[in-house]
């Protein structure tokens, strides 16, 4: 009988699922999946996790319908970086700063938004009412990614944890 059957046939009412939740979200492969999903989606689409197409404040002021200001586009072209969307990836420091902070009752995606003495949010104030609003929008997993996280990562980790307890 497979894992489903093994789990089904045992009484696990005393298991602390909160501890298992923390353990699962502390796993390296799960953190990697979450971070890579956010970073890649942002890089290839220029939109945040909840679907906002990023445009800098200066680009908005210039009114040309471009994601970046004309000056930034010149810099980006010089570095062979995409100019048709805001990627939040210049040196890659922002992507590398992302991590998952997991506890028994919560799991939060966090990152360092400070860059050269200022906050990345300072460039997007016309789109977001606060830093917190910006942070939540950027560090959000898209719904399809969230479903894959549940189906391909969490369920498998949960099964492994339960089977470990079962075989103790």
């Amino acid at each position: 009988m497979g894992a489903f059957g093994q789990i089904a046939n045992e009484n696990y009412s005393n298991i602390d699922l909160n501890k298992i939740f923390k353990k699962i979200f502390s796993k390296e492969d799960i953190e990697k999946y979450i971070i890579e999903s956010i970073a890649m989606d942002l890089y290839y689409s220029g939109t945040t996790g909840n679907g906002k197409l990023l445009q800098t404040d200066t680009a908005k002021e210039q009114g040309l319908g471009l994601p970046y200001s004309k000056k930034t586009i010149l810099f980006k072209e010089d570095k062979n970086q995409p100019t048709n969307r805001v990627t939040l990836r210049d040196t890659g420091e922002f992507d590398y700063s992302m991590y998952v902070d997991a506890g028994n009752l919560f799991a939060d995606i966090k990152a360092d938004f400070e860059k050269n003495g200022s906050n990345i949010y300072d460039n997007f104030k016309h789109m977001f009412k606060s830093f917190s609003d910006f942070e939540n929008s950027v560090l959000t997993l898209r719904k399809n990614r969230f479903l894959v996280l549940l189906s391909d990562y969490v369920i498998i980790s949960l099964q492994k944890e339960l089977i470990k307890i079962h075989t103790k």
Partner: protein
């Protein structure tokens, strides 16, 4: 055990992450229940297997209760 947890600032019932396991009266976790949670349509091919899983779960629970 606390049933309400937060993932990225949004509150969920822990069973959203543990696939109804926490709420299951007979301690079973079937593939169709799991598919339902991840938004897939119930699959007839696994229904038979699920039925057996639930029956086995009920039998095991009864035995333990005796």
């Amino acid at each position: 055990m606390k049933e309400i947890i937060s993932f990225n600032g949004i509150l969920y019932h822990i069973s959203d992450f543990t696939f109804d396991f926490a709420k299951s009266k007979d301690n079973t976790m079937t593939k169709n229940r799991y598919n339902n949670i991840i938004g897939k349509k119930p699959n007839k091919a696994v229904e038979k297997e699920d039925k057996e899983t639930v029956e086995n779960g009920k039998k095991a629970t009864k035995k333990k209760g005796k």
